[in-house]
């Protein structure tokens, strides 16, 4: 690999997520950390104290050194060091807490300090949620730092963030009942097959033929068909014709639902639980496709739907869990409303389409890291479409494992400007974190790397993304 000359300050371990030098590294050796912190402290472009550090001073327990636990063989060592360096330099509760979140997935044993932090964040959220009228700005702020995994908090918080539940707690039960019955009506109307529809049409027109028992032997009388509706009708407005056209989409939805997350028992497998979950996903997508003839169903919508449904279905509250399908439908609509233009092919070249969004990402990268931008766009001519298309349209669900992408979604959904802005920042951060490997690579290796993004410390990624919110760092 040809190593290009990179300025030292950019070459600090802070920016790269590749695991290069790890051999002599030992966790328990705090001297090592001091050494690292000194090298990174020297460059002038040390990540400045972000305005975010002033957030939530309650979390500011001076526990940084506790993060140097001799453990976590499964997290890459470099990232660990970087996060701890970051903690060293800036007491940022962000990494503290989300650090602990990530660890909870892996190890329950010696998590005393981190679970205490986690509990304090959980307590914060719970106090916020228990208010009569929830302060959405406050909630967004806390949620953007990550939501703890337990006690169904995430399910409620996401519903609030997506505007499904109103901030006023007293309206919750009436809103929920209204929306759930609306979904039930949608399902009844839209999932009916044409035979039933014609039967109902006839009933309303009074064509009831129930008196066939009168004569035992007769010529059966022919009756007129209603509205020219017959199964072989080729008319555009014919319900039969629409049914057969829809059946193609339904087949596509079926196929994609079966392929969603095949490694997770929740979604795939032979258990009746998995099958009922797949059925729910299928119904939601079909109802959405029928209600939105503009975009119908596009492959990939199942991937955006999956985390939503997973979180809502795993709500410990029984009533919430039972109505997860209806809740997921509305939240899915809300989430997609910001992104639907990306799925519409005709809008591809317009201001709101996918091309311009990718151009915005490119511009963002240029602002924050011109050298990398130049290397990607000009030198190696890697069209950002090749890697960022999937990142943007699928909201990063395909780039990270399931739990990680849920954590990223915490931050995405809590952005008051809408998930797209944060999404672009996270994508930019993803590029910056692997800049060293990108700068050293050619077209093929760059694409290989970006299309199979290496596992990263999510908290660090989100931290870097957050930093990009302000002025360009150079």
């Amino acid at each position: 690999m040809v190593k290009k000359k990179v300025p030292d300050w950019l070459n600090s371990a802070l920016w790269s997520s590749s695991s290069t030098t790890t051999t002599s590294f030992s966790y328990s050796d705090t001297n090592r950390f001091d050494h690292h912190s000194s090298t990174s402290a020297s460059p002038p472009i040390d990540p400045p104290l972000p305005p975010a550090a002033t957030r939530d001073e309650q979390q500011h327990t001076p526990r940084h050194h506790h993060n140097y636990h001799p453990r976590k063989p499964d997290i890459k060592e470099d990232k660990h060091s970087k996060s701890s360096i970051v903690n060293d330099n800036i007491s940022n509760n962000n990494s503290n807490k989300s650090f602990s979140n990530n660890k909870i997935d892996n190890r329950k044993a010696d998590n005393t300090e981190s679970s205490a932090e986690d509990i304090s964040n959980q307590a914060l959220l719970l106090t916020e949620l228990s208010r009569k009228v929830i302060n959405m700005g406050e909630l967004r702020r806390i949620a953007s730092q990550g939501i703890p995994d337990g006690a169904g908090i995430r399910s409620t918080v996401w519903k609030l963030l997506l505007g499904y539940l109103p901030p006023d707690r007293s309206l919750w039960s009436s809103e929920l009942a209204k929306k759930r019955s609306q979904y039930k009506r949608f399902k009844e109307e839209l999932l009916m097959n044409p035979s039933e529809i014609t039967r109902r049409l006839e009933k309303t027109m009074g064509f009831d033929n129930d008196d066939a028992k009168s004569e035992s032997r007769c010529v059966l009388s022919r009756s007129k068909i209603t509205h020219g509706e017959h199964p072989l009708s080729l008319g555009k407005s014919s319900i039969w014709n629409k049914f057969f056209q829809d059946s193609e989409i339904i087949e596509q939805i079926d196929r994609d639902v079966k392929r969603t997350h095949p490694d997770m028992h929740f979604f795939s497998g032979d258990s009746s639980f998995a099958k009922s979950n797949q059925e729910a996903l299928r119904n939601i997508l079909i109802v959405f496709a029928k209600l939105n003839p503009g975009i119908r169903y596009v492959q990939g919508m199942n991937e955006i739907l999956a985390p939503l449904f997973y979180v809502f279905k795993n709500d410990p509250d029984e009533e919430m869990e039972a109505c997860a399908e209806a809740d997921t439908f509305f939240c899915f609509v809300e989430l997609l409303s910001g992104f639907r233009d990306l799925f519409c092919q005709q809008l591809d070249n317009s201001v709101v389409g996918i091309r311009s969004t990718i151009a915005r990402l490119s511009h963002l990268l240029k602002e924050h890291d011109e050298e990398l931008w130049r290397h990607l766009e000009v030198t190696t001519k890697v069209n950002p479409q090749f890697y960022s298309f999937r990142w943007i349209t699928l909201l990063l669900t395909q780039e990270f494992n399931f739990t990680d992408s849920i954590h990223i979604w915490d931050t995405l959904l809590s952005d008051p400007e809408g998930p797209q802005e944060t999404l672009l920042r996270v994508c930019c951060a993803m590029l910056i974190l692997v800049r060293r490997r990108l700068l050293a690579g050619d077209f093929t290796s760059i694409l290989k790397l970006l299309q199979n993004y290496p596992p990263t410390n999510i908290s660090h990624l989100l931290y870097v993304a957050n930093k990009l919110r302000g002025q360009p760092s150079h």
């Binding site: 039933e196 033929n209 032997r217 007769c218 059966l220 009756s223 020219g228 072989l232």
Partner: protein
């Protein structure tokens, strides 16, 4: 919601060159689940064409069929209904309801589909329903020269059947329907 196409007496190529164009434009693959054909196709090419409409094809032998391996009668169960199929030239007098009713009792079916007369008819009697889809090409029959092209599409939905009759009259496709219900689910009949 099962769609069953019933047709027959095409007599291609001897008495008619092909199905009417308007019928052909309507009969596209992917919509129909079963095809039952009373017979007198008469050649293999017609068999292949019907096979493209739907892989589940049932044919009984008519007197002019070149393929001698088709059975004389056939029965099949679709949903809650038992259907019987026979060309009809074996039942004398041709098209007579009493004789067809005897055949229906013999086959023990709810709906009997026969042809040969090239005239659409639909009768109901105590044992069930007898349907004649007519000639899909409008070919002349042993009895008459005057035949409108017609076929039948049945929509079987639970205990209810809607029979859509497609006829080509003066160059226009006219569609009618017939509704009937079965009173009991398919059980062994006591008498």
């Amino acid at each position: 919601m099962v769609l069953v196409l019933a047709l027959g007496d095409l007599h291609i190529p001897h008495r008619a060159p092909d199905l009417p164009a308007k019928f052909k434009s309507m009969l596209v693959p992917g919509k129909i689940q079963h095809v039952i054909c009373t017979g007198n196709l008469s050649i293999k090419e017609v068999h292949d064409y019907l096979k493209t409409l739907c892989p589940d094809l049932h044919i009984t032998r008519g007197e002019y069929d070149e393929d001698t391996r088709y059975p004389e009668t056939k029965t099949l169960t679709i949903g809650q209904f038992k259907l019987g199929l026979c060309h009809g030239h074996q039942v004398v007098p041709w098209g007579d309801l009493d004789s067809l009713a005897m055949l229906q009792r013999q086959l023990d079916v709810d709906i009997l589909v026969t042809g040969h007369t090239h005239q659409f008819t639909a009768y109901k009697h105590e044992g069930g329903v007898v349907i004649n889809p007519g000639s899909a090409t409008g070919a002349y029959s042993n009895i008459t020269y005057d035949a409108n092209p017609s076929f039948v599409l049945m929509d079987i939905d639970g205990l209810r059947v809607v029979v859509y009759v497609y006829e080509l009259i003066d160059g226009e496709v006219k569609v009618d329907k017939i509704d009937f219900k079965k009173t009991t689910a398919t059980t062994h009949s006591a008498h």
